[in-house]
Symmetry: C2
Subunit: 251 residues, 2 copies
């Protein structure tokens, strides 16, 4: 790609949108400038553009995103058949298990939730379609990484900041690679409080008719209710069942 085939104003604008987040629902021009590393004048122009187009509100001091911004992600969610196909099965799975069930795909070093059926139970982590978690310490991440060629998985791990979210988090690349081999062999991954204390989960790959891994399915549960060692006994059969049902339906 030639230098002139890149629209930097567009790239800057996208960066500004991403500056908003859970802890930053409202941003001033200066804050957005700090978070993006862009010049205040540039950020101001991007924010005013968003506001002019109805993607953001501006009260003279703070900017905040409007629901119109969902059109952008929706362009992906509606264009990709996977989320719509798996959603009802996740709802069924979640109801049967009495736990939250999710589907995700890999994006770089992270898993991205594309569909989710949550349970009323309060979780400290609030997940929804579009949410992201580091792949190395999430059950679906392990499943998705294990489906890649080893060199590719290793490459992704090398780009990941392997930090210990809890004392149980595996942060050694070689140990993780060994874990991925185990996951590949047994066909599922179990995470025991590696992302957050009190939270464990089990995931299986979601394959299409040709056997290609297109996503991962999981069930997450509070460790207080279900020990990690019980996860496979309790939930693997229903995950496998959902996996089998969906196999001919995706892609």
């Amino acid at each position: 790609m030639r230098e002139t085939d890149f629209v930097s104003g567009f790239a800057r604008g996208l960066k500004v949108i991403e500056a908003f987040g859970e802890a930053q629902p409202r941003l001033s021009i200066a804050e957005a400038s700090k978070r993006t590393g862009l010049d205040r004048a540039t950020v101001r122009r991007s924010l005013l553009t968003l506001s002019e187009l109805g993607y953001a509100d501006y009260d003279g001091k703070f900017f905040s995103l409007t629901p119109k911004i969902l059109r952008l992600g929706h362009a992906y969610l509606s264009a990709t058949p996977l989320p719509a196909i798996v959603q009802p099965y996740l709802d069924q799975l979640s109801e049967k298990a009495g736990q939250s069930a999710s589907a995700s795909v890999l994006d770089g070093t992270e898993v991205v939730y594309v569909a989710r059926a949550s349970q009323r139970r309060v979780m400290s982590i609030n997940l929804m379609p579009g949410s992201r978690l580091p792949a190395y310490c999430a059950s679906m991440g392990r499943v998705l990484l294990s489906a890649l060629p080893e060199t590719e998985a290793r490459e992704i791990l090398s780009r990941t900041e392997l930090k210990a979210n809890t004392p149980r988090t595996k942060t050694d690349a070689e140990e993780l690679m060994a874990e991925l081999r185990k996951v590949r062999e047994q066909g599922y991954a179990v995470i025991d409080q590696e992302l957050e204390l009190g939270l464990c989960s089990i995931a299986v790959p979601l394959m299409n008719a040709r056997g290609q891994v297109v996503a991962a399915l999981n069930i997450g549960a509070p460790a207080a209710h279900v020990a990690a060692s019980e996860l496979a006994d309790r939930y693997l059969p229903m995950l496998k069942e959902t996996q089998a049902t969906l196999r001919p339906l995706v892609q």
Copy 2:
């Protein structure tokens, strides 16, 4: 806002993202150009920018969005507490009713789904967070419009293309205004196959502690299973209960 405070390259790029949709998961440069009305060279630069940034894939012929694009909508969903708060109650509501339950907010002339609990039942309309429906013929739309001052509701209707999706669709602005008054009085809206034949729904406003309407909740059902006339009897009590439970929890 001054002319020079608008970054048209950014606005054009956003338009290109929105060109993707359910029927257009993959777009060539020429197709994207047609759909956006932008010059091919411009569209090409925007698409190559998206591809360079990892928001799109390019196989040399077609562009398609990647899950990374969800970061943009996620910036809103995670910044706005409402979706996360209502989701578990929607799940509960959906399970109890045996029907899909959703929450939405108003964006211009449309309602935007911000959370949803779907049922396995196959619906011809596939809805998910970020989905949009015209407000005038959706139950949540009626509720949200009825919460606005009459002049504002009328103004929105005047900007809407009031088209008859089915023979039952109300398309007369004055008739709709009368309907809104009725909805305001009775505290709920019922739609009987105005959006699509075979689909009916009932919605109530979701208020915060100060009594401001911040969203709408609904239950949708196939007309074959539940007649529109039965909706209020069967589902209004549980909708009201959820409404009351959520009232102190939002905003």
